[in-house]
Amino acid sequence: MTGTAFISALAVWAAGWFVNVQLANSRMADQPLVRLAVPAVFGVTLLIMWEILVRLLEVSPVILPPPTMIADRFANELPILWADFEQTIIKGAMTGYIIGAAAAFGVAILADRSEFLTRGILPVGSFMAALPIVGTAPIFVRWLGSDWQSKAAVVAVMVFFPILVNTVAGLRDTSAMQRDLMRTYGAGYWPTFFKLRLPAALPFIFNGLKIATTLALIGAIVAEFFGSPTVGMGFRISTSVGQLALDMVWAEIVVAALAGSAFYGLMAWIEGRVTFWHPSQRERR
């Protein structure tokens, strides 16, 4: 039994790999369709191997449920998953993300008027960005209660520093020549800000915003481990682990992965729209 399982899994692997090697070394390798097909084949191969190994080795679903079981659970529990998504992502992560980003912009623009403050904020901010800020979750849950407000607060603090550092760094990213040109036009602080320095800072700002999308989801989910109402992705994950309903945990992870990619994708899409003039965006067209 064990032998058949490994042999059939290996056969699937070999077949998938053969297709991919053929595709990658073929003449069509640079076509967009093939570029999409190769990682897709790879992912599907892994899923089939997972399914075969779990089914044939009779691994208990308490340890690792097969993909079909997870898909089944996902399809059947859509209302619960949607409620969790709403609580954690929309109320917790999104609110916190917007508050944190707005606060970071505010501080960055205030600090920007003084060279002294900028020099202080850059090192302190990048230092804070590397700290395990998730650890503040129990404190915020105690202060603001276990509903989404405390999660939004954790998320706001987590996304604040990366966005702040990137915005401050971006606002410094104009050359003396460009600023002098604005001065010869007789532009004051705000016209220079809106016409030159903000556009120049946008690639940096979006970099910070994109890093912060993942942080926002992590903050909202992990903060729920410290206390939450009876809804939410972190709550569902920790209680389902307790009930050994691992297929539900995996379904939540699928939701988290979809939400994370969509959130990141949204930011990347807006970036492409707003900074279409930037070399890194132009190359893609």
Partner: protein, 306 residues
């Protein structure tokens, strides 16, 4: 060196905000306590005080401001209280004691370092595979990039239960999560680094008739070092976060995460705050250590520090 003064100013400003916020944050607790000791408080019933915000209550009871800094279980401890607690648990307790933060720090740090070593090692190997094998590049690279947009930490409780069910406990499950978090930044950074030599440099090696192995050891690997260090610094702080979070949902008995949880559940805010700051100092020390190694290595290799 000329940014020392600005940095100190910013840190001073943060501390000042913290110290000032202690008064309104703790005022309700202080007022309740003062009333029990027959000190005049306006308004004089707890129910009436609930209608005021912390700031409003603080303005009416300025004579109690001093007392907000010495509460035993404050909502927001003042900086000196956290410093005293940290001094007590780091310097004054024996390292083997369960109350010593050094002991808990070592528990978390050992999982972090083990996981970081595993994740970095596998990450470099995969990056080499991706650079040299086109099929691997096209299959794996999109997933490696996409995985950075996914909140991987949500997997932590499940990995621990899974590994626990097959009999793996203690250090290793935490290390697996740490490894997982440091893995992808290293892969993405190293692929970029190994590809950084330009066509001219690769051609030069070809005119020397260098073998692919020589090309790897003498050109690609040295060229990737600055990228490697940038990823290592991201990876080590991600590893630490991973190890801490791994301790949270499982009721671990030791480690920074366990301390935060204990302080939260038993109403001892000082324990949580001390663990939080100790974790922050550890993260800072690790990143600082890697920056130092980076500067030293790059100088020895003749590259300007990035």
């Amino acid at each position: 060196m000329k940014s020392v003064l600005p940095v100190l100013t910013v840190i001073g400003a943060i501390l000042l905000v913290w110290i000032v916020s202690v008064v309104p944050m703790n005022m309700h607790l202080t007022a309740d306590q003062a009333q029990r000791q027959d000190i005049a408080v306006t308004p004089d019933t707890p129910a009436a005080r609930q209608d005021y915000s912390g700031i409003g209550l603080a303005l009416r009871n300025l004579h109690l401001a001093g007392a907000t800094y010495v509460l035993e279980r404050p909502r927001l401890p003042s900086p000196h209280q956290v410093a005293v607690e940290m001094w007590d648990t780091i310097a004054l307790k024996k390292v083997t004691s369960r109350r010593s933060l050094v002991y808990h720090g070592w528990v978390t740090l050992s999982a972090t370092l083990l996981g970081f070593a595993i994740g970095t090692g596998l990450g470099i190997l995969l990056a080499v595979g991706i650079v040299y094998n086109r099929a691997m590049d096209m299959s794996v690279m999109p997933w490696a990039i996409a995985s950075q947009t996914i909140p991987i930490l949500a997997l932590a409780p499940m990995i621990i239960v899974m590994l626990g069910a097959i009999g793996v406990q203690g250090l290793l499950p935490k290390a697996v999560i740490s490894a997982y978090l440091s893995f992808f930044p290293v892969v993405v950074g190293m692929v970029k680094g190994l590809r950084s030599p330009d066509a001219m440099q690769l051609d030069l090696l070809r005119t020397y008739s260098a073998s692919p192995a020589q090309g790897f050891w003498k050109l690609r690997l040295p060229a990737s070092v600055p990228y490697l260090f940038a990823s290592l610094k991201i990876g080590i702080s991600a590893s630490l976060v991973g190890a801490i979070v791994a301790e949270l949902p499982t009721g671990a008995r030791a480690g920074f995460g366990a301390r935060m949880l204990v302080g939260d559940q038993y109403g001892q805010p000082m324990v949580t705050w001390a663990a939080l700051f100790a974790a922050a100092i550890t993260a800072a020390a690790l990143v600082g250590l890697f920056s130092m190694i980076e500067r030293f290595t790059l100088r020895r290799m003749g590259m300007a520090a990035a």
